[in-house]
Symmetry: D2
Subunit: 379 residues, 4 copies
């Protein structure tokens, strides 16, 4: 019998659902020493959090997050709230000796992130940040191929995250549903929301970033606030593009926007190495495109690998269905929970930890600073 790991969830939005689903499913598909138990869910609005708890099977609710964190029957806290609340909660969780699973980006800025890292490291609690795309099987496989040395010297890394959901100029900003458009809650726009994902994966796959030069834009200058009904300036970045150097000498190119008509959530990445190249995109997340120069000359071509084999060869896929049958977005969270639980059982840190996420934050900060200074900035 698996041992329980009692989860306390703070927040109940989109990510609250995605994480709860992962906690529910992981034990059906992964054989692990620990099993998550949905102990309590927390939010200020009691009615909302009760409905959420009822839907997902949380045993109890809290309306004060400090109470939740203080409870003896909670082993791990999942912080699923806007970015401006991460720091305070995480530090309190660390004080209380709880394991922490925190939404990304880790914080509003590097200074906050550093405090958080210090707190969890001093307390010695397990900690992880929800950069879930590392655990899409095709992305995990990309990491394996790189680690196996198949690509050789890397020349180029490029990634983008393109959406189109904020083009309408009558879309309001702020409030619970649209806090991502509110700089006070989100810290930044696409940089923290979307580019942070691209940067996390990039550092994981290709190592550290040394310097950046960036350009941001806010296309719609004013929006009505969803609560006050008043027109207010838009303070987040609608689009952000940056160029960079990686520590390994390769060049990086990153772009994110919510104004790319026709793209819903098009996170793409491509790595060009001396010997091989890799491409992936989130719209068909179960495929990895791979080009290998060591193939016989006339036979070279981009291979579309349907990452759905389940003989132990494709990461995580032995847990699911049969070859050819794809999984989806939500499974990346299941994999992350599975890995977290496995690490927890061994007392081992599971990446991305707070400290890993701090590196991403460092790049985000440099990007935003460069957009301001119009200079290259060191990370």
């Amino acid at each position: 019998m698996a041992k329980p790991l009692n989860i306390g969830m703070i927040g109940y939005g989109f990510m609250g659902r995605a994480h709860s689903n992962a906690y529910c499913k992981v034990s059906n598909f992964f054989d692990l020493e620990y099993e998550p138990v949905l102990k309590a869910a927390c939010a200020r609005n009691e009615e909302n959090i009760k409905a959420f708890a009822d839907n997902w099977g949380y045993e109890s609710v809290e309306t004060d997050w400090r109470k939740l964190v203080a409870r003896d029957d909670i082993d791990a806290v999942d912080i699923c709230v806007p970015n401006n609340l991460h720091k305070e909660m995480a530090i309190e969780c660390a004080k209380q000796g709880k394991a922490i699973l925190c939404e990304k980006p880790i914080a509003m800025d590097v200074a906050e992130g550093e405090e958080m890292c210090k707190a969890v490291e001093d307390a010695g609690v397990a900690n992880m940040v929800w950069y879930n795309y590392r655990r899409v099987p095709a992305v995990t496989m990309a990491k394996q191929l790189i680690d196996e040395g198949r690509l050789g010297r890397i020349f180029h890394y490029r990634a983008n995250f393109l959406q189109d959901w904020t083009i309408a100029d009558d879309l309001p900003q702020g409030g619970a549903a649209l806090w991502r458009l509110d700089a006070a809650a989100a810290g930044s726009g696409v940089t923290g929301d979307l580019l942070a994902h691209c940067i996390d994966t990039a550092i994981w796959l290709n190592g550290g970033i040394s310097d950046v030069t960036a350009m941001t834009e806010t296309f719609i200058k004013e929006r009505t606030h969803s609560l006050t009904g008043k027109k207010q300036p838009v303070l987040i970045d609608d689009a952000c593009t940056f160029m960079c150097h990686f520590e390994n000498g390769s060049l990086g190119l990153f772009e994110s926007t919510r104004y790319a008509r026709g793209h819903k959530a098009l996170y793409t990445l491509e790595i060009n190495g001396e010997n091989a190249s890799i491409k992936w995109d989130l719209h068909d997340l179960h495929r990895l495109e791979y080009f290998d120069h060591s193939d016989e000359g006339k036979m070279r071509g981009w291979r579309s690998i349907h990452v759905t084999d389940h003989g132990g060869e494709h990461p995580y896929m032995d847990k699911w269905w049969v070859p050819g049958l794809q999984i989806g977005y939500e499974h990346s969270f299941v994999h992350q929970v599975a890995d977290f639980l496995a690490g927890y059982a061994q007392g081992e840190a599971v990446s991305p930890t707070f400290r890993d996420a701090l590196e991403t934050q460092r790049v985000c900060d440099a990007v935003l600073q460069s957009a301001e200074s119009k200079q290259w900035e060191n990370v």
Copy 2:
């Protein structure tokens, strides 16, 4: 609070897992009057079924399916066993007044299927067959587009289901794991296993099939039996192709094989109408390809619709994540359970019923007969 619908599951193989997962998830994502409760799981091997029940949270186990069916606390039985066992179990379930969710194909042949239809209809029990692909959102959307009259007169329907997992001549046949290669258990090879899916969708989308001419082949003539270790003739069809006329005057072309190197589970369908055409394939199941001749001349092209919007526009997708984030194979079962539960609450039949599945069986029988007779056969 949702009312419980107590499920008794017979079988614990691949489909047992897929269905169990659907029962577990449906209430997290769909707001329904009934909620499935995993009451009991049944199989002859006690150790295996206990492990299965433990993994999925079934409250109890049985090793005699008649006992399970007889239990008062079971409302619905899920028949997830080889095809040669469907008839006896389904008829017994009907006698006991249980709702039935039966794996496909409905039976070994039309005669069996007719008995089963009579039994459930006489008993007045809810009944459904697991032709799950109808509930892949892109396929459901194809049905909507056809019903909206967008295609006009239909000229062509083609579908195939291509796999490559039995090419190795040292693959054994028979036994629990490989009963699909055993004619005594499966009835037929690809015809009942794969083409049945294609036929079910085809009838749903394009109406009845009137006559067929078919060709089957068994490429590997003998295989070792996985239990006895003896070489035995292979009695199933490794490949089956047929042409047909639909009642609406369109032409049909169907192919299935387990010898198409490079294709894992490539179920594809295409419909060509006077005004528009539709394509879909299971390897990228979240996309629907659509060509509309009423588009302005120079702007015509196949549209790749990423069926992931969730404003109520794309079938089922309002229940899941956000636009651009794909779901997978397993979700088709969740949708089928959701629809079944909704129909159950209203006392309404949910398609595909046993009778719907009997129509598919009728085509399968005609196909196998034509392959034998080398003649056109009426359905």
Copy 3:
């Protein structure tokens, strides 16, 4: 200096243009012993043929094809006229000792084709039929891969040729422009026009076809004749589908139609072998899709080979541009002329000869007969 090969062209339609372009270009790109010289063009309508000759640089015109064929200064005759005229012209060319390049299909039926074969073989004249798709580099490469034994035992061959240009019921039939819809001129509909291409490539790649069963359909039963303005029955096949056995034991599936909305000229082929599979389609003719089971397990995927390298590795491509820059439809004719001229210089037959084309005709006849008899027919 290259030696001249004086060409006499009969016809000036679509194919007359395609062949003339090939004669004009071949010497710019291929280094050959012979160079085509556009000596004379022939058609009944003097004004039209003069305009055509002027445009392409033919030195003279004729309005009586027998005169053209009788001219001493003509070495080779290109027969670019409706199918019902091939036999008489080809036999006369043979009598006059001319080399013959004849449009496909070779004739109205096998009986005619046999007469033609006898004539050219008795006369010992060079002869070729314009099944041009063999010389699309990606298709030629498919042949190489098969000949190199990369596919192993073949299980399946499938091909289709889908168009949509005759869906409108007010499209007239007959006359110079629309003779392909006129059974008297064309012999058949899609069978001779489109399937013949598929069959020629199939026999070339996969060997002989032993028996067939076919289904044809004429969706629009009557059309106005473009010259008489009268409604007349449509006597050609609008669609034709057939299944077959190849002599090597593999199964074949072929479909052609002019009623597949959304497809302009979608000729596709796929071959599934024990070890590898190949796919190709005419809408992106410069790509070959290839799946190799001998690739390392987790790395297997369909490779999209951009057949544009020019280091002697991709067939014909060393003659054109640089890697990545695609050629088009018309180049297949240039390649065929180049091969014909090379063979001519050596006194060697160049495939597809009349006799090769007769094999395709034999399959076409069996297909049409089967559609009539509703039986399997031996080829």
Copy 4:
């Protein structure tokens, strides 16, 4: 009868072939007042230029370009030589009153380009630069769609040109074949060779560029010179990336490299507008991808338009074959010649003129300067 336009060609390399082919073919497919006549070809090496002239049918050769330019029987000079020779030749041509078709980029830098513009404008001679990709039908169609206002306000423009042919570190530099790697002859590396194409199309489609910030890299620092055999520093840019603002307020992102393993000549562009988006790439140049937000909600998807219709709807395609049959790279040059001849007949400038190309040069210079200064630079 068409009037002759006597062409004098300087150079005989890859572009000499591409242009010669265009001159040869244009009159077969386009009905124009002027017809190019291949009057003379010129290069210092007499043997080479004779072979070239013989192959393409040039009536005569010269070994001194000044002689060619001075000939009375030459109407137009095609400058197909390394970039460092453009200025002197073009100015001399202008003096001699010749029309000029000059390879791109126009010059080594803006200063040279300005002299050239002044010369041709003072002399009033027809002038054009070979930015051929504007005349790929799908790209021309993109321009039409933008001019028709289908995209609305533009937010993003991105383009890249990725190759992989210089990755090997034993590739030499310099000499006739590899002058593109020689800074003295080429001026720059990928910036002038590849990005210049991207910039030309971008300005044409999206208007002027106001400022840029760029990053360049030379991955292989030393190469053997192909003539001297000595190791020498590589002075060109192997890769160049830049971000920019367009005058219309949209953001631009451009990348070019010869170190992107797996890409032969992958020129791609994408434009995101408020209402619609467009994508194109050179590896499948006959397709235009188009997303239209004004499509009915659930039906929205990227359309893959096969730009091969020939009823006057798809640019230039009425001149070629039938729908579905693609053309290739070389046809872009034929189209450019056709447009040049049509403009010449009317005495109208045909874009891109020298002055248009100077705008592109201005951006290239700013890009290279920014890479040096590590600052944003105004164009």
